[in-house]
């Protein structure tokens, strides 16, 4: 029987998990003699496998635990769709900025202090009453991290990756967005290192809002192009 990669991982990591539980010697012997049985004997648990891997890599000096913590903190707390929302709001109130954003996206985004990993080469595409843009990565999960953070599960999922290019209007319908036939749909497949940000339409009834209030209206989904930005709710604290 062919030994699959997953078997290798399961065997390896469950063994490592057992090692972490203090059963290293016994299982090291087991591994040498009967590879196939070990993963049946100990619990398979991804958390344990990863913990064991991290300990190994720290012990070998290959990773720095403080760097791991800093990376996680960055993407959990500092980089996310609020960045993109600021870019959108600025473009809505400042036509000169909007022009720079659409023509020299990296520089314009950097003006607000954003850029870097997985957003080194940005392309901003504008939604209008006649054109609706949406973004996908059919081959993996490419996404503009500096302005939107890490992608949500649906963006990385097989249903979205497979159908966005062949049935974009059907996918948009699942997000609650029904586009009239007269609106052209443009789908951007992130096959290279270009990362796309949709500049959504500014909703009606927002003329008096401040830049911050406008940014608060802008959702992640509207910047991926699977939703529109909704006007502030009447009487609500938009």
């Amino acid at each position: 029987m062919r030994s699959s990669r997953r078997d290798f991982l399961t065997t390896a990591a469950t063994a490592a998990g057992a090692a972490a539980a203090g059963e290293l010697a016994a299982h090291a012997q087991d591994l040498e003699h009967s590879h196939d049985h070990v993963h049946q004997a100990v619990p398979s648990d991804l958390a344990l496998r990863v913990k064991s891997l991290e300990s190994l890599l720290v012990e070998k000096g290959l990773v720095d635990r403080a760097a791991l913590d800093a990376l996680i903190d960055t993407y959990e707390h500092k980089v996310g769709p609020r960045n993109g929302a600021q870019v959108v709001a600025r473009a809505w109130i400042d036509p000169a900025y909007k022009h720079r954003l659409l023509t020299d996206s990296d520089k314009a985004i950097a003006e607000l202090g954003f850029g870097g990993q997985q957003g080194e080469h940005m392309v901003v595409v504008e939604n209008t009453p006649a054109v609706h843009n949406m973004v996908v990565c059919t081959l993996c999960s490419c996404y503009p991290w500096p302005v939107l953070g890490l992608p949500p599960v649906w963006y990385k999922s097989a249903p979205y990756r497979s159908r966005s290019v062949i049935d974009p209007r059907g996918v948009l319908r699942e997000f609650g967005l029904e586009l009239p036939d007269e609106v052209d749909v443009r789908v951007w497949d992130s096959t290279a290192e270009l990362r796309y940000l949709v500049l959504p339409e500014r909703p009606a009834g927002t003329e008096g809002l401040t830049e911050d209030a406008l940014a608060a209206l802008v959702t992640r989904d509207s910047m991926v192009g699977v939703a529109k930005v909704l006007p502030p709710r009447k009487g609500g604290g938009a």
Binding site: L56, A67, T138
Partner: protein, 219 residues
């Protein structure tokens, strides 16, 4: 490689399900896998194209059944072993082989913010002439390489129009296999949805695909 990762145009994968108030990581281990992968990549034993390809090499049935960060973990472990940063025995035991050298981490905490802020640009400032101009009609080549490629199957052989030249970038098909960067121009190429999918598509809908010079021929 015509793998299952190349999903554009497949059907019957089910509805797109959005999760309300989704956390960045659903489990602590997912964040650790994300961060370990970024940290291990700092050793520069591989590049992003090689990492993507390693994930594509996961057999289709397993790829489809794995969660996202399980795919990341698999790719990371395979490349770490292939490049000699760790051994399979070490992964199996969870302990360094006795006598193996202790290194100093390539990515330390003080380097995280600069890495995040500057990224790792794939553009190259080298004088390479573009083969195509904006407005030119092109055909995506009908190639089926067994190695890594970023030319999706659904576009192969199809007619499109060069929309914009984005400049010179590393070529993933060679870079993923450590065969050099082969820098060349990348274009946004516009395809009519009808050219890709036939008459059921709306006549003015389009798909824009980023393509390297080597993916294109004159039409």
């Amino acid at each position: 490689m015509n793998g299952v990762h190349d999903m554009g145009g497949m059907q019957d994968m089910g509805p797109v399900e959005e999760e309300k108030n989704e956390p960045v990581f659903h489990h602590a281990w997912e964040g650790r896998v994300f961060a370990i992968t970024r940290s291990m990549s700092a050793w520069r034993k591989w590049n992003l194209d090689a990492l993507r390809h390693e994930r594509e090499l996961i057999p289709p049935a397993e790829y489809l059944s794995m969660s996202y960060y399980e795919i990341w973990l698999t790719g990371l472990l395979e490349l770490s072993v292939k490049t000699g940063l760790v051994t399979r025995a070490e992964i199996e035991s969870g302990k360094p082989t006795s006598g193996s050298p202790k290194r100093s981490p390539a990515l330390t905490a003080d380097k995280v913010l600069p890495l995040v802020a500057h990224g790792t640009p794939a553009s190259r400032d080298v004088p390479v002439a573009p083969r195509f101009q904006a407005g030119q009609r092109v055909r995506a080549r009908n190639i089926n390489p067994v190695g890594h490629t970023r030319l999706p199957r659904y576009a192969r052989g199809k007619l499109g129009t060069i929309e914009r030249d984005h400049g010179v970038f590393v070529f993933p098909d060679t870079d993923a296999h450590f065969l050099g960067e082969k820098p060349q121009h990348v274009y946004s190429v516009r395809f009519l949805a009808r050219e890709l999918w036939g008459e059921r598509a709306k006549p003015r809908d389009t798909v824009y695909i980023a393509m390297w010079d080597d993916y294109l021929e004159s039409a």
